[in-house]
């Protein structure tokens, strides 16, 4: 068994691994280092924090620290000595490992624009990745009126929407002709842009930025088409890049991320990598679900609970999570074999496009109010066969199984339908009692005993009596 495990990174993946290991007990020694000075927090809730409804304590995560985990926050690992199986920290400590885990995540990309190339970013230019970034954005936003967001991907739009919700004037600048081009098609993106506009977010598409000018009073973004925008704050949301610096320096095999196999091992079998910094096959995941799945597999392997556990990637689902926008995207929306289902209602900002091949969902884009979204995501995630009634994929509960409408008339009830179960009285019997002269609810009840049990059918008996009194001469049975 592995005795000393060292984890580099106290982000979403590292924290998860620590608690998975701690939950499995055993007497191994686990040491974790995190550059960020904070206790573990949920990074994806930073968008919500930015939107202002919650406070910092609300984004904290449960920590395994103290439960067999030795956690050092605010400590950065500066080097890996594979020979000696030890890591060095910026405090000058040297810590030995039997197994080392890289969970260093990724860093926000700072685009190479004029004005951003000199190391330190200007105070009014902030990326959006960490709690500290969030604090900086909020500190400026407090006294700001106008905000620019560079990048119309998932993160940029979440930031834009959150800041607009605080009453700021927000403009998103995106170099591609449509938003979230990696997940959406142009129609979906257009629907999304309209929804954003209604929420106070303006979009400038198909135009790259060229330069940033910032001083203590404001920031100006210059665009390739000659225009420029002034604002109090510029948020950079230009994508992320896996943090592979330590791995590269230690001569591990690195592609775009640290290369790992199905057991999350790097080219050194005593070192693993999980989360945003890892590259499994061709894939950089960049999402929490796979990071946690990897943490779980690695914990099984390292704890010996299941030494042959393997990471099996599942197809990613993108979900934009922000007030007033409901967006889900999965699979490759491009053309492919199979059927395609679409639904568009521009007036309500609703769009759905689903691709089905061999009875399985291969891709879907859902924007706006799509009641089937939960079902679609599950079917895609689990690879289960789609319903034969395809309409339910678009309309969800609205169709078939939805809440039934109250009947407009008892005329449509079959005579054999039981009205009172306590006394087993069917509609035919009620009608019969009417024919024999019962004319009020009480008389019908007296004649049939319907409703004399628990009484919950009284309404129905009354309704049928009412109806009988209006259709007296009509043949009422069918």
């Amino acid at each position: 068994m592995t005795d000393r495990i060292v984890i580099i990174g106290n982000g979403m993946a590292g924290t998860r691994l620590a608690s998975e290991l701690s939950a499995r007990g055993g007497d191994r020694k686990v040491t974790a280092f995190g550059t960020e000075p904070h206790r573990a927090y949920n990074r994806i809730m930073l968008s919500t924090l930015l939107a202002g409804a919650i406070g910092e304590p609300d984004v904290q995560l449960a920590e395994a620290a103290g439960h067999g985990i030795d956690l050092h926050t605010g400590v950065c690992v500066t080097a890996i000595d594979r020979e000696d199986r030890a890591v060095r920290t910026d405090r000058g400590d040297r810590v030995h490992y039997d197994h080392l885990v890289l969970a260093t995540g990724s860093r926000a990309v700072v685009p190479p624009l004029t004005g951003l190339t000199g190391g330190e970013l200007p105070a009014r230019v902030v990326p959006f990745r960490t709690l500290d970034d969030c604090r900086r954005i909020l500190a400026v936003a407090d006294r700001a009126r106008r905000v620019l967001v560079l990048g119309g991907g998932l993160l940029g739009l979440e930031a834009a929407r959150g800041l607009a919700g605080r009453g700021l004037e927000v403009t998103v600048v995106h170099p591609v002709p449509y938003l979230m081009e990696r997940q959406l098609d142009p129609t979906a993106a257009a629907v999304l842009a309209r929804t954003l506009a209604d929420l106070g977010v303006t979009t400038q598409l198909a135009v790259p930025a060229t330069a940033v000018l910032a001083d203590s009073h404001g920031v100006r973004l210059e665009l390739a088409d000659g225009r420029s925008f002034d604002a109090d704050l510029l948020v950079l949301a230009c994508g992320v890049r896996p943090d592979t610096a330590l791995a590269t320096a230690a001569n591990l095999a690195v592609g775009r991320g640290v290369l790992v196999d199905d057991q999350l091992r790097t080219s050194d079998r005593r070192i693993s990598a999980i989360g945003d910094c890892a590259q499994h096959g061709d894939t950089l995941t960049g999402l929490v679900a796979p990071a946690w799945a990897q943490a779980r597999v690695l914990a099984q392997v390292l704890s010996g609970a299941d030494p042959s556990a393997r990471y099996r990637p599942r197809p990613a689902v993108t979900r934009l999570k922000t007030a007033g926008i409901d967006l889900a995207a999965m699979g490759d929306p491009g053309d492919g074999p199979g059927e395609e289902l679409t639904f568009t209602d521009p007036a309500s900002g609703t769009y759905a496009r689903l691709r089905i091949n061999h009875e399985r969902l291969t891709a879907a884009i859902l924007v706006g109010d799509n009641p089937s979204v939960g079902t679609v995501i599950q079917l895609f995630d689990r690879g289960q066969p789609v319903p034969s009634d395809r309409r339910s994929l678009l309309l969800g509960r609205a169709l078939g199984t939805g809440p039934a409408e109250p009947a407009t008339t008892p005329a449509l009830m079959p005579a054999a339908a039981t009205v009172c179960h306590c006394n087993n009285v069917d509609k035919g019997t009620l009608v019969e009692s009417w024919r024999r002269g019962a004319r009020t609810v009480d008389e019908v009840v007296a004649a049939t005993r319907a409703g004399t049990g628990c009484g919950s059918c009284r309404d129905a008996v009354a309704g049928i009596t009412d109806w009988l009194s209006t259709v007296e001469s009509v043949e009422v049975e069918r």
Partner: protein, 685 residues
């Protein structure tokens, strides 16, 4: 109106149907026909050693056989080798007498009851959060005035018709009803919003709702600070449950989760209720706790018109668990492992406290140990039919067969009675006086409407007779001078119960039959006759030592058994006391179906299509533990990844042959609500 239209046809909403002899809690209001049913037992039955058949016998012969059997077993294997299995349908008096009989006459630690299969998860969750377990800490009528009512895994429209009145009232006043259920039940059809999660994911839904409540500012922070403990850990635990994550797991959309959280958080009065659907899981206690956490975070418990509650089953689900037929309890919801509690009860019983045995084991473990080398060799069953109602029933049936002595007290020849060595005919509710306690903690009278038929004795009479017989005659255990007083009179037993419960959590000391009559039921705790009872709990404090409610951080975990290639579908069970009659069915299956519902397996049409099964054709549901065969009932009301069967039937249609016997680590509740199965077409013969 309760008329509903579905698929162009109209039917009256299904309602309660009183047929539940095989189920969990026996019905109080057993239908009139049952009283004079031709199958009604009016004589004791003894198994004839030669033929192996159950034959009519005299009471004396039957009691003799029981006494000899018990003495032999106890002489050879010790006192704990005799066990007692009770029922949630027994009156308070009977539940009390049964507990006392086990502890004082048999002096065995092994007593538990079928309510374990019903209530135990909610009871344990309530205990650990509020320090007390009363189904509803407020009167049922409060449901009628709730602005938002969240029902989790509850289908009262089919299982508790009296409650539907309050739901109707609630909606008439413009309140919102939200139902969480994997199936589109009769109750779900009435809801303003129906969340249809994958079975076994209710806890993830609860955590996501709290996540949203936090993110949108609905948490009542001053309540949390002033009246609770442990919130920080819960806050961090639910930070992991952002809605999109719960959505992928449960299939409930983010939008629906948000609507629900807002409806609860924005309501002036909101009530959250859980029932079997959330509770009958190996994580039942944690699931209920998830919803309790949500209620506490929103500041609901103790606020007038708001709160958390659990819908108990029928019969005496609440009272049946308060007076000592639970393995770890003494009357008044006292703990059997607490010294002061033991001493109090011992004084009432007139025995030394150290003579009261310690805690036994929960129902399933008890049943699963029967006839094994270390387990009981004799069992007395009252008001329960475990052959049908226990999980993994085929195995339990085998355990019962391994017993040296099985005694079943029933009024019909149930599936369990059919295995017995001795069957004793007992009275039905309409033939006995007594009290029951409903889910509101309200103690109600049951009045005898007629006398039992000749040859039939009440449970109290036969317990008294059995106690006397065991304490007398040759071979009587040495070292005891006087027999314990076990009265056959319910009024006398109730007086004793009052004294035994005095000072306990469920304090009945101030409740008399006269008072119950005068005020239409009395809410416990009620320590004094001339002081008010307690319709609403928690107004000022919770029943915990420090008066604060306790949060417990809980996390979703997968069901004990996961679907796989061999067993690709989820299987869930439940109660259907109603027959949903669409015109089509009525035409195809004539009058037959009107009388009583029959066993069925509910399948999504797509699943049936793949199997090539038509509506009404027999199908087989197979799990690792066994199989069940019943006609398919096609319905788009069920998820295509799930099949459902009601658990009321025995024999080949017994759903519990298939269910999983994994149990909750805290409550011992078996995982009735989810296991992995495959469904097959039954080849025509």
């Amino acid at each position: 109106m309760t008329l509903r239209e579905a698929d162009g046809e109209v039917a009256v909403l299904p309602r309660w149907f009183p047929t539940n002899q095989g189920g969990l809690c026996q019905k109080g209001w057993t239908a009139a026909e049952l009283l004079d049913h031709p199958d009604r037992l009016t004589t004791a039955l003894l198994r004839d050693p030669a033929s192996g058949e159950l034959r009519p016998a005299s009471w004396d012969a039957a009691l003799d056989r029981i006494v000899t059997g018990i003495r032999t077993v106890q002489a050879n294997h010790g006192r704990d080798a005799v066990a007692v299995f009770g029922g949630g349908g027994l009156t308070n008096e009977k539940a009390y007498a049964l507990g006392k009989f086990a502890r004082v006459v048999l002096r065995t630690r092994h007593i538990d009851y079928n309510g374990r299969f019903c209530m135990s998860s909610a009871a344990a969750a309530g205990m650990r959060a509020f320090g007390v377990d009363r189904g509803l800490p407020f009167p049922l009528a409060d449901l009628g005035t709730a602005d938002t009512l969240l029902l989790v895994g509850a289908n009262p429209a089919e299982t508790m018709p009296p409650l539907v009145r309050w739901l109707t009232e609630q909606r008439r006043r413009g309140g919102r009803l939200i139902v969480v259920d994997p199936r589109v039940t009769a109750t779900a059809r009435q809801a303003d919003l129906h969340l249809q999660p994958l079975p076994g994911t209710d806890l993830a839904v609860a955590n996501a709702l709290l996540h949203i409540a936090l993110a949108e500012g609905f948490v009542d922070h001053s309540y949390v600070a002033g009246r609770t403990t442990g919130f920080d850990e819960v806050r961090r635990a639910v930070a992991e449950w952002w809605p999109a994550r719960a959505e992928a797991l449960s299939g409930v959309s983010v939008a629906d989760l948000e609507t629900t959280a807002r409806a609860l958080g924005g309501a002036r009065r909101a009530i959250i209720l859980t029932a079997r659907g959330a509770e009958q899981h190996a994580k039942g206690v944690d699931t209920v706790t998830g919803y309790v956490n949500l209620a506490l975070a929103l500041g609901l418990p103790g606020r007038p018109g708001s709160g958390y509650g659990c819908l108990t089953g029928q019969g005496n689900g609440q009272g049946g668990r308060e007076h000592g037929q639970k393995a770890d309890q003494l009357p008044g919801y006292r703990r059997i492992d607490n010294l002061a509690d033991r001493e109090h009860v011992a004084a009432i019983w007139g025995v030394p406290a150290e003579e009261i045995p310690g805690p036994g084991v929960p129902a399933y473990r008890l049943l699963d140990s029967l006839g094994t080398p270390d387990g009981p060799k004799a069992l007395l069953v009252f008001g329960s039919n475990p052959v049908v109602s226990a999980p993994r029933a085929a195995r339990i049936e085998g355990r019962l067969r391994d017993l040296d002595l099985l005694v079943v007290v029933d009024f019909l020849r149930s599936e369990t009675a059919a295995l017995a060595d001795v069957v004793l005919p007992t009275a039905q509710w309409a033939e006995e006086d007594g009290t029951m306690t409903n889910l509101e903690g309200r103690v109600l009278r049951r009045r005898a409407l007629r006398t039992p038929p000749p040859g039939v004795r009440t449970d109290l009479e036969l317990l008294a007779a059995l106690a006397t017989a065991l304490e007398q005659g040759p071979g009587r255990p040495a070292g005891r001078d006087r027999g314990p007083a076990l009265s056959p009179e319910p009024a006398v037993v109730f007086e004793e119960l009052r004294a035994a419960s005095a000072g306990g959590l469920a304090d009945y000391a101030g409740i008399s039959w006269e008072r119950i009559d005068a005020q239409e039921g009395v809410f416990w705790p009620c320590p004094e006759l001339d002081r008010p009872d307690t319709p609403r709990l928690f107004a000022d404090r919770f029943s915990t030592p420090d008066g604060r409610a306790r949060f417990h951080a809980v996390q979703h975990r997968p069901a004990a058994e996961q679907v796989c290639a061999t067993y690709p579908l989820h299987f869930t069970t439940g109660r259907v006391l109603a027959q949903y009659q669409s015109g089509t069915q009525t035409r195809r299956v004539p009058a037959l179906r009107r009388a009583a519902p029959a066993a069925f397996i509910e399948l999504h049409p797509d699943v049936a299509d793949r199997l090539g099964v038509a509506d009404g054709e027999p199908v087989r549901v197979r799990s690792r533990r066994g199989e069940l065969i019943a006609p398919a009932r096609l319905s788009s009301a069920i998820r295509p990844d799930t099949v459902f069967a009601p658990f009321h039937w025995g024999g080949i249609a017994r759903a519990n042959t298939v269910t999983n016997d994994a149990v909750d680590p805290i409550s011992g509740m078996p995982e009735f609500k989810i296991c992995a199965v495959r469904v097959e077409k039954v080849a025509a013969t």
